[in-house]
Symmetry: C2
Subunit: 166 residues, 2 copies
DNA sequence: TCAATTAAGTATAATCATTTTCAAATTATA
DNA sequence: TATAATTTGAAAATGATTATACTTAATTGA
Protein backbone atom coordinates (compact mmCIF):
# COMPACT_ATOMS: atom_id res chain seq x y z
CA UNK A 1 0.00 0.00 0.00
CA UNK A 2 2.58 2.57 1.06
CA UNK A 3 4.80 1.62 -1.85
CA UNK A 4 1.91 2.00 -4.20
CA UNK A 5 1.10 5.43 -2.80
CA UNK A 6 4.70 6.47 -3.17
CA UNK A 7 4.82 5.43 -6.78
CA UNK A 8 1.63 7.37 -7.48
CA UNK A 9 3.19 10.35 -5.70
CA UNK A 10 6.13 10.11 -8.07
CA UNK A 11 3.83 9.94 -11.07
CA UNK A 12 2.17 13.15 -9.90
CA UNK A 13 5.48 14.90 -9.25
CA UNK A 14 6.69 13.91 -12.69
CA UNK A 15 3.89 16.09 -14.07
CA UNK A 16 4.42 18.89 -11.51
CA UNK A 17 1.43 17.96 -9.39
CA UNK A 18 1.47 17.50 -5.64
CA UNK A 19 0.05 14.67 -3.60
CA UNK A 20 -1.94 16.84 -1.21
CA UNK A 21 -3.60 15.28 1.84
CA UNK A 22 -6.96 15.35 0.03
CA UNK A 23 -5.51 13.66 -3.02
CA UNK A 24 -3.79 11.09 -0.87
CA UNK A 25 -7.01 10.33 1.01
CA UNK A 26 -8.78 9.87 -2.32
CA UNK A 27 -6.10 7.55 -3.65
CA UNK A 28 -6.22 5.53 -0.43
CA UNK A 29 -9.96 5.01 -0.82
CA UNK A 30 -9.42 3.81 -4.36
CA UNK A 31 -6.69 1.41 -3.23
CA UNK A 32 -8.80 0.08 -0.37
CA UNK A 33 -11.67 -0.59 -2.76
CA UNK A 34 -9.66 -1.71 -5.71
CA UNK A 35 -12.04 -4.41 -6.83
CA UNK A 36 -15.07 -2.11 -6.69
CA UNK A 37 -16.28 0.35 -9.28
CA UNK A 38 -16.94 3.49 -7.31
CA UNK A 39 -18.70 6.59 -8.57
CA UNK A 40 -17.39 10.03 -7.61
CA UNK A 41 -20.14 10.22 -5.00
CA UNK A 42 -19.12 6.81 -3.59
CA UNK A 43 -15.52 7.95 -3.33
CA UNK A 44 -16.60 11.20 -1.72
CA UNK A 45 -18.59 9.45 0.99
CA UNK A 46 -15.76 7.04 1.74
CA UNK A 47 -13.14 9.79 1.86
CA UNK A 48 -15.41 11.82 4.15
CA UNK A 49 -15.25 9.09 6.76
CA UNK A 50 -11.57 9.74 7.22
CA UNK A 51 -11.24 13.34 6.12
CA UNK A 52 -14.64 14.93 6.79
CA UNK A 53 -13.61 18.37 5.60
CA UNK A 54 -13.07 17.34 1.98
CA UNK A 55 -15.37 18.78 -0.69
CA UNK A 56 -17.11 16.90 -3.49
CA UNK A 57 -15.58 19.20 -6.09
CA UNK A 58 -12.11 18.27 -4.90
CA UNK A 59 -12.92 14.60 -5.31
CA UNK A 60 -14.12 15.23 -8.85
CA UNK A 61 -11.00 17.23 -9.66
CA UNK A 62 -8.74 14.59 -8.17
CA UNK A 63 -10.41 11.80 -10.10
CA UNK A 64 -10.16 13.85 -13.27
CA UNK A 65 -6.47 14.43 -12.62
CA UNK A 66 -5.83 10.75 -11.91
CA UNK A 67 -7.66 9.94 -15.14
CA UNK A 68 -5.46 12.23 -17.17
CA UNK A 69 -2.36 10.64 -15.68
CA UNK A 70 -3.76 7.18 -16.50
CA UNK A 71 -3.65 6.19 -12.87
CA UNK A 72 -7.36 5.52 -12.95
CA UNK A 73 -9.65 4.65 -15.83
CA UNK A 74 -13.05 6.27 -16.08
CA UNK A 75 -15.78 3.94 -17.22
CA UNK A 76 -19.50 4.10 -17.68
CA UNK A 77 -21.70 1.02 -17.45
CA UNK A 78 -24.76 2.81 -18.76
CA UNK A 79 -26.37 3.76 -15.45
CA UNK A 80 -25.75 7.47 -15.78
CA UNK A 81 -22.70 7.76 -13.53
CA UNK A 82 -19.02 7.55 -14.29
CA UNK A 83 -17.06 5.03 -12.33
CA UNK A 84 -13.38 5.14 -11.53
CA UNK A 85 -11.18 2.09 -11.71
CA UNK A 86 -7.56 2.00 -10.54
CA UNK A 87 -5.32 0.81 -13.32
CA UNK A 88 -3.37 -2.23 -12.18
CA UNK A 89 0.34 -1.61 -11.80
CA UNK A 90 2.22 -2.74 -14.84
CA UNK A 91 -0.97 -3.30 -16.81
CA UNK A 92 -0.52 -2.20 -20.38
CA UNK A 93 -4.21 -2.32 -21.15
CA UNK A 94 -7.44 -1.48 -19.37
CA UNK A 95 -9.00 -4.62 -17.97
CA UNK A 96 -12.34 -5.96 -19.16
CA UNK A 97 -15.68 -6.18 -17.35
CA UNK A 98 -18.50 -8.66 -16.95
CA UNK A 99 -21.76 -6.95 -16.06
CA UNK A 100 -24.54 -9.25 -14.88
CA UNK A 101 -27.96 -8.28 -16.23
CA UNK A 102 -29.66 -10.21 -13.42
CA UNK A 103 -27.88 -9.22 -10.23
CA UNK A 104 -26.01 -6.13 -11.42
CA UNK A 105 -22.61 -7.39 -10.29
CA UNK A 106 -19.47 -6.27 -12.11
CA UNK A 107 -16.58 -8.72 -12.32
CA UNK A 108 -13.20 -8.08 -13.85
CA UNK A 109 -11.03 -9.86 -16.36
CA UNK A 110 -7.41 -8.86 -15.92
CA UNK A 111 -6.16 -11.13 -18.65
CA UNK A 112 -5.70 -9.43 -22.02
CA UNK A 113 -8.18 -10.94 -24.44
CA UNK A 114 -7.75 -8.43 -27.24
CA UNK A 115 -4.17 -8.88 -28.41
CA UNK A 116 -5.08 -10.63 -31.63
CA UNK A 117 -8.15 -8.52 -32.23
CA UNK A 118 -6.12 -5.31 -31.96
CA UNK A 119 -3.64 -6.60 -34.50
CA UNK A 120 -6.52 -7.19 -36.90
CA UNK A 121 -7.91 -3.71 -36.27
CA UNK A 122 -4.54 -2.06 -36.91
CA UNK A 123 -3.88 -4.07 -40.05
CA UNK A 124 -7.33 -4.09 -41.59
CA UNK A 125 -8.74 -0.72 -40.49
CA UNK A 126 -5.45 1.18 -40.33
CA UNK A 127 -6.34 2.35 -36.85
CA UNK A 128 -3.58 2.83 -34.28
CA UNK A 129 -5.05 1.40 -31.06
CA UNK A 130 -4.10 3.31 -27.91
CA UNK A 131 -6.73 2.05 -25.50
CA UNK A 132 -9.89 0.03 -25.36
CA UNK A 133 -13.10 -0.56 -23.48
CA UNK A 134 -14.60 -4.03 -23.50
CA UNK A 135 -17.66 -4.92 -21.46
CA UNK A 136 -19.73 -8.07 -21.69
CA UNK A 137 -23.34 -8.03 -20.62
CA UNK A 138 -24.83 -11.36 -19.60
CA UNK A 139 -25.36 -13.73 -16.71
CA UNK A 140 -22.66 -14.15 -14.10
CA UNK A 141 -21.48 -17.49 -12.76
CA UNK A 142 -23.32 -16.98 -9.47
CA UNK A 143 -26.67 -16.44 -11.19
CA UNK A 144 -26.04 -19.35 -13.56
CA UNK A 145 -25.39 -21.63 -10.59
CA UNK A 146 -28.53 -20.40 -8.91
CA UNK A 147 -30.52 -21.29 -12.04
CA UNK A 148 -28.98 -24.74 -12.18
CA UNK A 149 -29.88 -25.33 -8.57
CA UNK A 150 -33.47 -24.25 -9.24
CA UNK A 151 -33.68 -26.55 -12.23
CA UNK A 152 -32.39 -29.41 -10.13
CA UNK A 153 -35.04 -28.79 -7.47
CA UNK A 154 -37.78 -28.54 -10.07
CA UNK A 155 -36.75 -31.85 -11.59
CA UNK A 156 -36.85 -33.46 -8.17
CA UNK A 157 -40.42 -32.23 -7.72
CA UNK A 158 -41.35 -33.58 -11.14
CA UNK A 159 -39.87 -36.88 -10.13
CA UNK A 160 -41.92 -37.01 -6.94
CA UNK A 161 -45.10 -36.49 -8.91
CA UNK A 162 -44.33 -39.04 -11.60
CA UNK A 163 -45.30 -42.20 -9.70
CA UNK A 164 -48.79 -40.83 -9.04
CA UNK A 165 -49.36 -40.37 -12.73
CA UNK A 166 -48.29 -43.87 -13.67
CA UNK B 1 -36.62 2.12 -46.15
CA UNK B 2 -40.35 1.45 -46.13
CA UNK B 3 -39.75 -2.25 -45.65
CA UNK B 4 -37.46 -1.55 -42.76
CA UNK B 5 -40.07 0.73 -41.17
CA UNK B 6 -42.70 -1.96 -41.59
CA UNK B 7 -40.57 -4.57 -39.91
CA UNK B 8 -39.93 -2.22 -36.99
CA UNK B 9 -43.68 -1.60 -36.82
CA UNK B 10 -44.22 -5.32 -36.49
CA UNK B 11 -41.60 -5.56 -33.76
CA UNK B 12 -43.46 -2.87 -31.84
CA UNK B 13 -46.84 -4.52 -32.37
CA UNK B 14 -45.45 -7.82 -31.19
CA UNK B 15 -44.92 -6.13 -27.81
CA UNK B 16 -48.25 -4.26 -27.88
CA UNK B 17 -46.75 -0.91 -28.77
CA UNK B 18 -47.96 1.37 -31.53
CA UNK B 19 -45.90 3.04 -34.22
CA UNK B 20 -47.31 6.51 -33.63
CA UNK B 21 -46.45 9.34 -36.05
CA UNK B 22 -43.90 10.66 -33.54
CA UNK B 23 -42.26 7.29 -33.20
CA UNK B 24 -42.21 6.81 -36.94
CA UNK B 25 -40.62 10.22 -37.46
CA UNK B 26 -37.96 9.32 -34.91
CA UNK B 27 -37.23 5.98 -36.54
CA UNK B 28 -36.97 7.66 -39.94
CA UNK B 29 -34.36 10.06 -38.63
CA UNK B 30 -32.37 7.14 -37.26
CA UNK B 31 -32.60 5.32 -40.58
CA UNK B 32 -31.57 8.39 -42.55
CA UNK B 33 -28.53 8.86 -40.33
CA UNK B 34 -27.66 5.24 -39.85
CA UNK B 35 -23.91 5.71 -39.97
CA UNK B 36 -23.97 8.53 -37.41
CA UNK B 37 -24.05 8.32 -33.65
CA UNK B 38 -26.75 10.76 -32.69
CA UNK B 39 -27.53 11.96 -29.19
CA UNK B 40 -31.14 12.37 -28.07
CA UNK B 41 -30.78 16.10 -28.67
CA UNK B 42 -29.41 15.49 -32.19
CA UNK B 43 -32.37 13.24 -32.98
CA UNK B 44 -34.77 15.78 -31.53
CA UNK B 45 -33.45 18.59 -33.72
CA UNK B 46 -33.60 16.43 -36.85
CA UNK B 47 -37.11 15.17 -36.09
CA UNK B 48 -38.23 18.75 -35.46
CA UNK B 49 -37.38 19.70 -39.03
CA UNK B 50 -40.12 17.41 -40.27
CA UNK B 51 -42.47 17.24 -37.32
CA UNK B 52 -41.98 20.55 -35.45
CA UNK B 53 -44.59 19.81 -32.83
CA UNK B 54 -42.70 16.89 -31.29
CA UNK B 55 -41.38 17.22 -27.73
CA UNK B 56 -37.94 16.31 -26.45
CA UNK B 57 -39.43 14.03 -23.81
CA UNK B 58 -41.17 12.03 -26.51
CA UNK B 59 -37.88 11.54 -28.32
CA UNK B 60 -36.27 10.32 -25.11
CA UNK B 61 -39.19 7.98 -24.48
CA UNK B 62 -39.09 6.63 -28.01
CA UNK B 63 -35.35 6.02 -27.90
CA UNK B 64 -35.74 4.28 -24.56
CA UNK B 65 -38.48 2.07 -26.01
CA UNK B 66 -36.44 1.23 -29.09
CA UNK B 67 -33.56 0.36 -26.79
CA UNK B 68 -35.66 -2.05 -24.81
CA UNK B 69 -36.80 -3.75 -28.00
CA UNK B 70 -33.18 -4.00 -29.15
CA UNK B 71 -33.96 -1.99 -32.25
CA UNK B 72 -31.36 0.55 -31.24
CA UNK B 73 -28.32 0.23 -29.02
CA UNK B 74 -27.52 2.93 -26.52
CA UNK B 75 -23.84 3.71 -26.21
CA UNK B 76 -21.69 6.20 -24.40
CA UNK B 77 -18.33 7.31 -25.69
CA UNK B 78 -17.42 9.13 -22.50
CA UNK B 79 -18.50 12.64 -23.47
CA UNK B 80 -21.44 12.81 -21.12
CA UNK B 81 -24.22 12.04 -23.59
CA UNK B 82 -25.83 8.78 -24.62
CA UNK B 83 -25.83 8.01 -28.30
CA UNK B 84 -28.27 5.83 -30.15
CA UNK B 85 -27.22 3.41 -32.82
CA UNK B 86 -29.64 1.46 -35.03
CA UNK B 87 -28.92 -2.23 -34.80
CA UNK B 88 -28.21 -3.62 -38.27
CA UNK B 89 -30.89 -5.99 -39.53
CA UNK B 90 -29.89 -9.56 -38.97
CA UNK B 91 -26.92 -8.57 -36.82
CA UNK B 92 -26.53 -10.96 -33.93
CA UNK B 93 -24.12 -8.70 -32.10
CA UNK B 94 -23.65 -5.01 -31.49
CA UNK B 95 -21.00 -3.65 -33.82
CA UNK B 96 -17.74 -2.20 -32.58
CA UNK B 97 -16.42 1.36 -32.64
CA UNK B 98 -13.19 3.16 -33.40
CA UNK B 99 -12.99 6.52 -31.66
CA UNK B 100 -10.21 8.82 -32.84
CA UNK B 101 -8.53 10.71 -30.00
CA UNK B 102 -7.26 13.34 -32.45
CA UNK B 103 -10.21 14.27 -34.64
CA UNK B 104 -13.06 12.79 -32.60
CA UNK B 105 -14.44 10.72 -35.47
CA UNK B 106 -16.29 7.49 -34.75
CA UNK B 107 -16.01 4.67 -37.28
CA UNK B 108 -17.74 1.33 -37.14
CA UNK B 109 -16.64 -2.25 -37.44
CA UNK B 110 -19.55 -4.44 -38.48
CA UNK B 111 -17.49 -7.61 -38.59
CA UNK B 112 -17.69 -9.74 -35.46
CA UNK B 113 -14.27 -9.75 -33.84
CA UNK B 114 -15.27 -11.31 -30.54
CA UNK B 115 -16.46 -14.80 -31.43
CA UNK B 116 -13.44 -16.56 -30.03
CA UNK B 117 -13.08 -14.18 -27.11
CA UNK B 118 -16.66 -14.81 -26.04
CA UNK B 119 -16.11 -18.54 -26.10
CA UNK B 120 -13.15 -18.08 -23.77
CA UNK B 121 -15.22 -15.89 -21.45
CA UNK B 122 -18.04 -18.42 -21.27
CA UNK B 123 -15.70 -21.33 -20.70
CA UNK B 124 -13.19 -19.79 -18.35
CA UNK B 125 -15.34 -17.32 -16.41
CA UNK B 126 -18.62 -19.22 -16.59
CA UNK B 127 -20.33 -16.10 -17.83
CA UNK B 128 -23.19 -16.38 -20.32
CA UNK B 129 -22.59 -13.57 -22.80
CA UNK B 130 -25.75 -11.84 -24.05
CA UNK B 131 -24.30 -8.62 -25.42
CA UNK B 132 -21.09 -6.65 -25.58
CA UNK B 133 -19.63 -3.19 -25.97
CA UNK B 134 -16.23 -2.86 -27.59
CA UNK B 135 -14.65 0.49 -28.35
CA UNK B 136 -11.10 1.19 -29.40
CA UNK B 137 -9.55 4.57 -28.70
CA UNK B 138 -6.68 5.57 -30.92
CA UNK B 139 -5.76 7.30 -34.16
CA UNK B 140 -7.95 6.87 -37.21
CA UNK B 141 -6.64 6.12 -40.70
CA UNK B 142 -7.30 9.68 -41.85
CA UNK B 143 -5.19 11.19 -39.08
CA UNK B 144 -2.47 8.59 -39.59
CA UNK B 145 -2.29 9.50 -43.26
CA UNK B 146 -2.14 13.16 -42.39
CA UNK B 147 0.83 12.46 -40.12
CA UNK B 148 2.60 10.50 -42.81
CA UNK B 149 2.09 13.33 -45.24
CA UNK B 150 3.50 15.81 -42.72
CA UNK B 151 6.52 13.61 -42.11
CA UNK B 152 7.10 13.38 -45.84
CA UNK B 153 7.01 17.17 -46.18
CA UNK B 154 9.34 17.65 -43.22
CA UNK B 155 11.83 15.25 -44.71
CA UNK B 156 11.73 17.17 -47.97
CA UNK B 157 12.50 20.37 -46.11
CA UNK B 158 15.38 18.70 -44.31
CA UNK B 159 16.65 17.58 -47.64
CA UNK B 160 16.54 21.09 -49.05
CA UNK B 161 18.56 22.41 -46.14
CA UNK B 162 21.15 19.67 -46.19
CA UNK B 163 23.29 21.04 -49.02
CA UNK B 164 23.71 24.36 -47.22
CA UNK B 165 25.07 22.60 -44.17
CA UNK B 166 27.60 20.55 -46.09
C1' DT C 1 12.16 36.40 7.15
C1' DC C 2 8.33 37.97 4.77
C1' DA C 3 5.60 39.90 0.95
C1' DA C 4 4.25 38.18 -3.54
C1' DT C 5 2.91 34.65 -6.53
C1' DT C 6 0.87 30.36 -7.46
C1' DA C 7 -1.53 26.06 -6.59
C1' DA C 8 -5.17 23.81 -4.44
C1' DG C 9 -9.23 23.59 -1.63
C1' DT C 10 -14.19 24.62 -0.07
C1' DA C 11 -18.84 25.82 -0.60
C1' DT C 12 -22.17 27.22 -3.51
C1' DA C 13 -24.27 28.22 -7.74
C1' DA C 14 -24.83 27.06 -12.46
C1' DT C 15 -25.21 23.84 -16.19
C1' DC C 16 -26.71 20.17 -18.77
C1' DA C 17 -28.67 15.61 -19.83
C1' DT C 18 -32.34 12.98 -18.55
C1' DT C 19 -36.66 11.79 -16.08
C1' DT C 20 -40.98 12.78 -14.01
C1' DT C 21 -45.38 14.92 -13.66
C1' DC C 22 -49.75 15.89 -15.21
C1' DA C 23 -53.36 17.60 -18.08
C1' DA C 24 -54.78 17.13 -22.80
C1' DA C 25 -55.11 14.39 -26.93
C1' DT C 26 -55.38 10.10 -29.25
C1' DT C 27 -56.58 5.40 -29.76
C1' DA C 28 -58.57 1.07 -28.47
C1' DT C 29 -62.45 -1.41 -26.28
C1' DA C 30 -67.10 -2.37 -24.74
C1' DT D 1 -71.03 6.45 -28.16
C1' DA D 2 -69.14 6.13 -23.59
C1' DT D 3 -65.22 4.44 -21.08
C1' DA D 4 -60.66 3.00 -20.34
C1' DA D 5 -55.91 2.79 -21.66
C1' DT D 6 -52.04 4.73 -24.09
C1' DT D 7 -49.36 8.39 -25.66
C1' DT D 8 -48.03 13.03 -25.96
C1' DG D 9 -46.07 17.87 -24.95
C1' DA D 10 -44.75 21.43 -21.82
C1' DA D 11 -42.92 22.37 -17.79
C1' DA D 12 -40.83 21.19 -13.54
C1' DA D 13 -37.79 18.18 -11.08
C1' DT D 14 -33.73 15.52 -10.62
C1' DG D 15 -29.07 14.26 -10.42
C1' DA D 16 -24.40 14.24 -12.02
C1' DT D 17 -20.89 17.20 -13.17
C1' DT D 18 -18.57 21.70 -13.82
C1' DA D 19 -17.72 26.58 -13.06
C1' DT D 20 -17.27 30.45 -9.91
C1' DA D 21 -15.74 33.21 -6.10
C1' DC D 22 -13.40 33.26 -2.37
C1' DT D 23 -10.07 31.20 1.17
C1' DT D 24 -6.07 28.70 2.57
C1' DA D 25 -1.61 26.53 1.93
C1' DA D 26 2.65 26.14 -0.33
C1' DT D 27 6.51 28.17 -2.92
C1' DT D 28 9.52 31.74 -4.43
C1' DG D 29 12.87 34.97 -4.23
C1' DA D 30 14.30 39.64 -2.53
ZN1 LIG E 1 -25.49 -12.21 -11.53
ZN1 LIG F 1 -12.70 -2.81 -13.24
ZN1 LIG G 1 -8.82 11.01 -36.65
ZN1 LIG H 1 -22.15 2.47 -34.40
Amino acid sequence: MEGRINRIKKQLHAQKYKLTPQREATVRVLLENEQDHLSAEDVYLLVKEKAPEIGLATVYRTLELLSELKIVDKINFGDGVSRYDLRREGASHFHHHLVCIECGSVDEIQEDLLGEVEKVVERKWHFKVKDHRLTFHGICHRCLEKHEEENRLNKEKEFEKEPEKV
